[in-house]
Amino acid sequence: MTPSLVVVDSTALRSVLNEELVRKGREAGIEVEVATPAEFVSRATLRVTPCGTTVEPGVGLFVRSWPQARAGQSRNDYVKGIEVSSFLRAFAALNPLPVVNRPSSAGWAGKWTGFAALDSRAALCVSRGRRNGSVRTETYSTVVPLDSEREVQDLGSWTSFYRTDQFVPRGSYRSRRGGVGDCFETVIVAYRSAWFEKSGGARERLHLLEQSRQVAEALALDYAAVAWCIGGEDETVARIDPFWREAWDWTHAEHLSVALLGGLQDRQHAS
């Protein structure tokens, strides 16, 4: 039987969300299949003619992750992964059927670039006129500036920490002002649904749900995790991740699968 939706996932074929999508899909009469990028493209075809573009098979698509470079991988396998990714991107962008986070001319998921500061600003630019949070200046440097308390990410090890006044050795860092008193709220957005990652997300910050929806919409994302940094009265967009896969896989899989399948069906009916 030809599936209606293929979930493409290179890292966790048996994730709770994938299983939930298959189960909820079956209940709703939607055949959902999970495949790796290489498996999917092995049976995909894309043809560009003067009359237009055709893709086969005719299935909806949810690309949860792209092929990643692996330690010890040969150069040949590395290039093959890039080729598969590029094919998958074109297929997802040109597919006439619904695609979660359809790639665009600008990026691999909606208009998302992967640069937090640029994406945050782009999202706020598009939704100008609506109070929609703000963003903080970021600094890329080999030494961490000493001008204030900073939230720091080591780009070599990917570890994050706060620098107050301790010495940080020379390295490669991304940092922004922020103190140990700041807290984070992450909002999961799936089409028109939005909820806090952690149950008990502050009631006084319910407005972040709508603001997160606006941020996702501005970047043409159907699905994303929007992380907010909250320090005092300030609420700033810290990160927008259309491929987020953390603890929510366990706690939100049911809610998320319903929202995603519902959103995909709405899109199909609308087209």
Partner: protein, 320 residues
């Protein structure tokens, strides 16, 4: 007295970077060379997003105050390998520079944030077709049957699917029939016989160079004929418009011109290596680039988007 200060950002071994620097200097610009290889491997930097006048890069041999730059010609190429122990430093420098260039309020060729479909050739070809250009029919598949069927008994041009540098070549019928799907998906395009044409668009100007060669890749044919030429005004208008639509100031458009003088678009390069074509065009492309950068060059020290406070709700002033 020195001319306007143009930053040239790239790897010092990149021939295009070297060529632009030399040509811009000949045209009176003061060149500030920033070797990102040296910076990534042994230098230091502070780069803000949005860009700030106080930012700097120390390449190990020179300290560059980014706020002194009045325009930038950039070719950001990450030459690190996936397992490079310097990968974190490359990541930091490339991310910082990409976002710095995207937000700096000085002319940048090409400013990051432009279309990225050239890194997915089928998506790129679909975009070109949708925008009214004549594009040879193409197929991406991992099915031998589809491949043989598509070829229709004719050889096909094989190209990479991604932006990975590769040489397009003509696949024979025997090679097509022997394709092993285990090699992964393949991207093929109908072969168009005729001359090759490269058109560099810089802002509103077009610079065309034409090649006559029997090779699939004319660049590797020492016996080719080459000349500086012009293109129909209607095509020129389209290319200028489509270059701008992609958010590019500089683009290198590749065409095949068949015997009926029809222009078949193969691709548009957002970071073209242009020195070969510049030599044929007697430096006209470099002149166009320098003109473009200097026509909007900002006074020194005006790099930053204006930020009165740490938190900023203003839109970036770049084209991002």
């Amino acid at each position: 007295m020195t001319g306007p200060r143009i930053g040239v950002l790239g790897v010092a071994s990149d021939a295009t970077v070297v060529h632009f620097g030399a040509q811009a200097r000949l045209r009176g610009a003061e060149i500030v060379a920033i070797d990102i290889y040296n910076a990534a491997t042994s230098g230091d930097w502070v780069l803000s997003v949005p860009a700030n006048s106080d930012d700097w890069i120390d390449t190990g041999t020179s300290l560059v105050a980014m706020g002194d730059l009045q325009a930038v010609f950039a070719r950001l190429i990450d030459v690190s390998e996936p397992e490079d122990e310097q990968a974190g430093r490359w990541r930091g420098l490339m991310s910082g520079l990409t976002q710095w260039l995207a937000t700096a309020s000085i002319p940048v060729i090409n400013r990051p944030g432009h279309h990225e479909h050239n890194s997915s050739k089928p998506l790129h070809e679909a975009w070109l077709t949708r925008n009214g250009l004549l594009v040879p029919e193409s197929l991406v598949t991992q099915s031998r049957e589809q491949l043989v069927d598509f070829s229709g008994g004719l050889p096909l041009v094989v190209k990479s699917i991604s932006g990975v540098r590769s040489h397009a070549r003509l696949a024979t019928l025997e090679e097509i029939a022997a394709y092993d799907p285990l090699d992964g998906p393949v991207h093929v395009q109908r072969h168009i016989s005729g001359d090759d044409l490269r058109v560099h668009v810089i802002g509103g100007e077009c610079f065309a160079t034409r090649f006559s060669s029997s090779a699939v890749d004319y660049r590797r044919d020492g016996a080719r004929r080459e000349w500086y030429t012009s293109i129909p005004w209607r095509l020129a208008d389209d290319l200028v418009r489509l270059t701008q639509e992609q958010g590019l100031d500089l683009a290198g458009w590749d065409f095949k011109v068949d015997e009926s003088e029809r222009y078949w678009c193969l691709e548009v390069n957002p970071m073209p290596a242009y020195e070969l074509y510049d030599d044929i065009a007697n430096g006209e492309i470099s002149s166009g680039l320098v003109r473009r950068l200097l026509s909007a060059a900002a006074p020194a020290g005006s790099i930053a988007t204006e930020l009165d406070e740490e938190e900023d709700e203003e839109c970036m002033k770049s084209s991002y």
